[in-house]
Amino acid sequence: MTDLLRLDHVTKLFPVGGFFSRRSMKAVDDVNFALSADKPEIFAIVGESGSGKSTLAKMMLGNEVPSSGQLSFDGTDVAAIRGRAAREAFMAKVQPVFQNPFEAFNPLTKLDEYLFATAHRFLGASNRGAREAAADAALQRVGLSLSEVRGRYSHELSGGQLQRIAVARALIPNPKLIVADEPVSMVDASLRMSIVNLFRELRDELKVSIIYITHDLATAYYISDRVIIMQKGKVIESGDARTVLEHPTQPYSIALKGAVLPPDPAAASAIIRQRQVVAG
């Protein structure tokens, strides 16, 4: 088994409608891909809201079970994990980073407590010194230190710093895979690239694979090795990130790329004028 993560015909159905008009909606529809265990990579899942990308993330984290198909991590079926020990072993290897760091951290809990709790739970760090060492090591990796974070609450730090702490927390159990769902969309513009560049460092230095879920084609192009583009639960295009995003072949991917506003006034205003012609 050389696959770190493998999805075979993964489908997720959600029931919609009322009691008398129950139907099911395919949130994720027959998704197949695999991440190699030997070669860490940044794998981008691109799609608009409702494309099923977040449902896919929940299944990778083991929070949702596929309705059909198999999602396996390191050769074991994630849906078949039973028991606390097995579940914690899985959680140690697959860690999440969420979209909004202000919501991910309880405003009434000190931030270092999250780091210590993670160290205690996954590394078995039973004494204070071991927990602090683990937390500090992880924080150093993301360009912070325990002295900057100790005793602080989430409102005292910027979104960028909080997101770094979220990444540091995810790094404590030495994961193999980080699932990051829209990790930079709530981060300020001047700090956004620091988080994006951090993912690249994690891949190169710690050999962690990263699932980067986003609606932003430009950052996906910037950091990812491979990309899949999703529409209404289906993967409509996949492959090498540079190739797919430079030369998309499917109509939807082409439309998506065409709507990306470039940081250039002449080109960007031409794009929104195009729409006016279509509507007029």
Partner: protein, 343 residues
């Protein structure tokens, strides 16, 4: 405090300017047990917006951009107070001094000055049909009788490419993009001269965003209205604004024609904001700025950007740079303006 408070440059009120802001200072002032704390969210801002112009305001969270537009709209409440300066609108001869004579503003709201807000669900009443929102917002400003009012509303929706039947829908039955289009229709139904748009496309998907921006530009061009467009997304500014102001920690850092600002940023912060944007087809590594945006309650001395600025010199920590004409025809507040190389 070695801060040199800048003197507002007096700009003559010409009829072309729909909005003239001079030396505006609005602070959050708290007094607890005799200790006075000030948060200078809007600190000495002067700007003008002309007729038929989209004026962009870019800034990060806690840069004071929301406080600025609230102050412009006369929508501030204690503990926030206007300490100094003025906000004057000029709607075709009818001039309104927002803080000199606030009673003038009330009848002008929605008729002359309207808003497009970020969360459409905060604007449309979730438990009533869309038509009730139109009635609540616009009816008394239009001065039309029932039937004439509704035919005007339907006509307006049609011109915006919306099906007039949406009036009968509840907000939850519509998609986010459709709701945002309705808030745009709602804000423009009275054909106001001035519109404040606060992050109207931030919550939308890329394809919908393109469409909504096109709609805003379309309506603006048809009505020859002026828009203050606030967003942190520089690409959106590139697409829609004619002139752009960059805000940092409660002050303006730079202002100028959007094209000139993107081509030739004069302030190091502007240069960074533009240079760090990734784009498809360009794989160069983007650098990020060290540090974090300052807290407005305790801003750095001198130029508020100096702790993060790659070009900072000793003078930057002592003196506040004033807004001065820049080489590219705009204004910039930086001692080392023009030495900036676009990243």
């Amino acid at each position: 405090m070695h801060e040199v408070l800048s003197k507002a440059k007096k700009t003559a009120v010409t009829p072309k300017n729909v909005l003239t802001v001079e030396g505006l200072k609005a602070y959050y002032i708290n007094e607890h047990f005799g200790v006075r704390r000030e948060v200078r969210a809007v600190d000495d801002i002067s700007l003008t917006v002309q007729r038929n112009e989209v004026y962009g305001i870019a800034g990060e969270s806690s840069s004071g951009k929301s406080s600025l537009i609230k102050t412009l709209a006369g929508a501030i409440r204690p503990p926030m107070r206007v300490v100094d300066g003025s906000v004057k609108f000029d709607f075709g001869g009818q001039s309104i001094d927002v803080y000199g004579a606030p009673e003038q503003l009330k009848p002008a709201r929605w008729r002359h000055l309207s808003y497009i807000m970020q969360g459409s669900m905060n604007v449309l009443n979730p438990v009533r049909r869309v038509k009730h929102s139109f009635h609540d917002f616009a009816y008394r400003h239009m001065g039309l009788s029932g039937a004439a009012f509704w035919s005007k509303v339907r006509q307006h929706l049609e011109r915006l490419g919306l099906d007039p039947d949406v009036l009968e829908a509840f907000p939850h039955q519509l998609s986010g993009g459709m709701r945002q289009r309705i808030t745009i229709a709602l804000a423009t139904v009275c054909e106001p001269e001035f519109i404040i748009a606060d992050e109207p496309t931030t919550a939308l998907d890329v394809l919908v965003q393109q469409d909504v921006l096109g709609l805003i530009k379309d309506v603006q061009a048809r009505m020859q209205a002026s828009i203050i467009f606030v967003t942190h997304d520089m690409s959106v500014h590139a697409a829609i604004t004619d002139r752009l102001a960059i805000m940092y920690a409660g002050r303006l850092a730079e202002e100028g024609a959007t094209q000139a600002l993107f081509d030739n940023p004069q302030h190091p912060y502007t240069a960074h904001l533009i240079g760090s944007l990734p784009r498809i087809g360009d794989v160069r590594v983007r650098k990020s700025l060290p540090g974090k945006p300052p807290a407005l309650s305790d801003p750095p001395s001198g130029c508020r950007f100096h702790p993060r600025c790659p070009l900072a010199i000793e003078r930057c920590s002592r003196e506040v740079p004033l807004m001065q004409p820049s080489a590219t025809g705009g204004r910039v507040a930086c001692f080392r303006a023009g030495e900036v190389v676009a990243a």
